[in-house]
């Protein structure tokens, strides 16, 4: 069997990443961390148990638990070695006391900061990591519409929502763009929207090295079109002053800054700064021959080597009155 860490990056991928890391030292530390397995991070499901209680329980099992951020005690790392699959097989996981989630993947919901009684749309929701995180942040109140277009992925979404005791959510199955159009026709508007868009997944190489083998530039170009269509439709159903988080788990500027630039140039929106609990880099304003609005720099690039996470991109935009 092929060693899962042995997939070779394609030359074009490396060339593009070099443009993102002009400093050779940064580029090398990026390549270095790709060889390292990601840390074992979990999120305490505060709908069911407090972080203190969970930590105590897991430590009693002999696990070494570290709470990473004082302000977010629900985010934990299991520092000791575990058997393959042990995190998912543990009783505490089966009972819904925690969710296995990469730290970078927890950031979009933190940036959106859904409040109790708000109406939220999670446009591309499966497998439900961010939906369950938001439901916990909202203390199971307000409303979340969790949409997923693929039938096969609805099942896993529903099963994760159930395991986590989520009660404030409706699952829908529609193409994201079409769904937003229907919401607009019905004047069904949202306080906040999470658009965690389908993407080429360059940020997930540490956990899924096979991404390197599957990578190709055509996919990025096609996804960029889909992402523009999704953000354009989503902005239309935000309430005035409503906020949208656009996130991907990729580094490709065509899927990130280009989408935010498109939104800023075509809609009555502004970009807002985000405070995240880990080190990030600002969005870029130029890639190859393309130049983006200066404000795009307020988006956040999460690079794996900066805080020992996966890679992500997060931007917050607000609809103006």
């Amino acid at each position: 069997m092929k060693n899962p860490r042995r997939y070779e990056p394609k030359p074009l991928f490396l060339e593009r990443m070099k443009l993102l890391f002009p400093d050779k030292k940064d580029f090398n530390s990026y390549l270095e961390i790709l060889k390292k397995e990601p840390v074992r991070s979990i999120r305490c499901n505060t709908i069911k148990i407090s972080p203190e209680k969970l930590k105590k329980r897991l430590e009693k099992k002999g696990w070494k638990i570290k709470i990473l951020f004082e302000n977010f005690p629900e985010i934990m790392i299991v520092e000791n070695e575990l058997q393959p699959g042990e995190l998912g097989r543990a009783l505490e996981h089966l009972l819904g006391y925690y969710y296995i989630q990469e730290i970078a993947s927890m950031l979009p919901a933190l940036a959106l900061n859904p409040k109790e009684h708000e109406k939220i749309l999670d446009l591309c929701a499966s497998p439900g990591s961010k939906t369950t995180q938001m439901a916990a942040m909202m203390k199971n109140s307000g409303l979340i519409i969790a949409n997923e277009v693929k039938f096969g992925r609805i099942k896993i979404l529903a099963s994760n929502l159930e395991r986590c005791g989520v009660m404030n959510t409706i699952i829908t199955k529609r193409d994201g763009t079409a769904l937003c159009k229907r919401f607009k026709q019905k004047n069904f508007l949202f306080d906040k929207i999470l658009l965690d868009a389908p993407c080429s997944g360059e940020g997930t190489i540490r956990s899924t090295p096979k991404t390197l083998e599957m990578w190709n530039i055509k996919t990025i170009e096609n996804l960029s079109k889909l992402q523009k269509s999704l953000i354009a439709s989503a902005i239309e159903i935000l309430k005035p002053n409503g906020e949208l988080i656009y996130s991907t788990c990729t580094h490709a500027p065509e899927e990130n800054e280009e989408i935010i630039d498109f939104a800023l140039k075509n809609f009555n929106v502004k970009i807002k700064k985000i405070n995240l609990p880990i080190k990030t880099q600002q969005g870029i304003t130029k890639f190859k021959e393309k130049e983006y609005s200066e404000d795009v720099k307020y988006s956040c690039r999460v690079y794996p080597q900066l805080a020992d996470t996966e890679g992500f991109f997060i931007a917050k935009i607000q609809k103006l009155k």
Binding site: R89, N147, G165, N168, I170, R174, F183
Partner: protein, 159 residues
């Protein structure tokens, strides 16, 4: 169209009466609805019933709220989440598992044990609620879904 029917006040009272008789549960502060023939769900979302059906018209609802219980032969069987959610109210028909039984239970095995009771029992180990089992003369039947079971023989539930 989603086979969803929210319970009216009198239907909710009837269900609560059963829950009270079976488990001592007196109050459910959320909307209760029937989904299909047997499933009962709890929903805390801030949206009217009318809006839900409008939404279903154009967005095809695939799921709503939390699966909480099933009604079978006029008796209520709580799901794992149902038992966890209402654990502070549950006072009757509780079966306290010991460590070995808890492990067997979460492996999906029935317990060969005489409880002297017949019908649904809440399965509990220390602070953990594992849903409901059905007691008959010599055993308690297990309803833990496959996806929620411990999956290995050496499974160990910690004291």
């Amino acid at each position: 169209m989603i086979p969803l029917k929210f319970l009216k006040k009198n239907e909710k009272e009837k269900l609560l009466k059963k829950l009270n008789e079976q488990f001592g549960i007196k109050e459910i502060p959320w909307e209760i609805a029937r989904l299909g023939k047997e499933r009962i769900i709890l929903f805390s979302g801030d949206i009217s019933e009318k809006e839900i059906f409008e939404l279903d018209d154009f967005a095809r609802i695939e799921g709503i709220g939390l699966y909480f219980a099933k009604e079978q032969n006029e008796e209520i069987r709580l799901s794992i989440e149902g038992s966890q959610l209402l654990k502070n109210q549950i006072q009757k028909n509780i079966f306290e598992l010991d460590e070995k039984q808890a492990e067997q239970w979460m492996l999906g095995q029935e317990l060969n044990i005489k409880t002297g009771k017949k019908g649904f029992l809440i399965m509990k180990f220390k602070d953990d609620f594992f849903g409901t089992g059905k007691a008959s003369e010599n055993k308690i039947s297990n309803f833990v879904p496959k996806s929620r079971r411990l999956k290995y023989k050496e499974a160990k539930i910690e004291e």
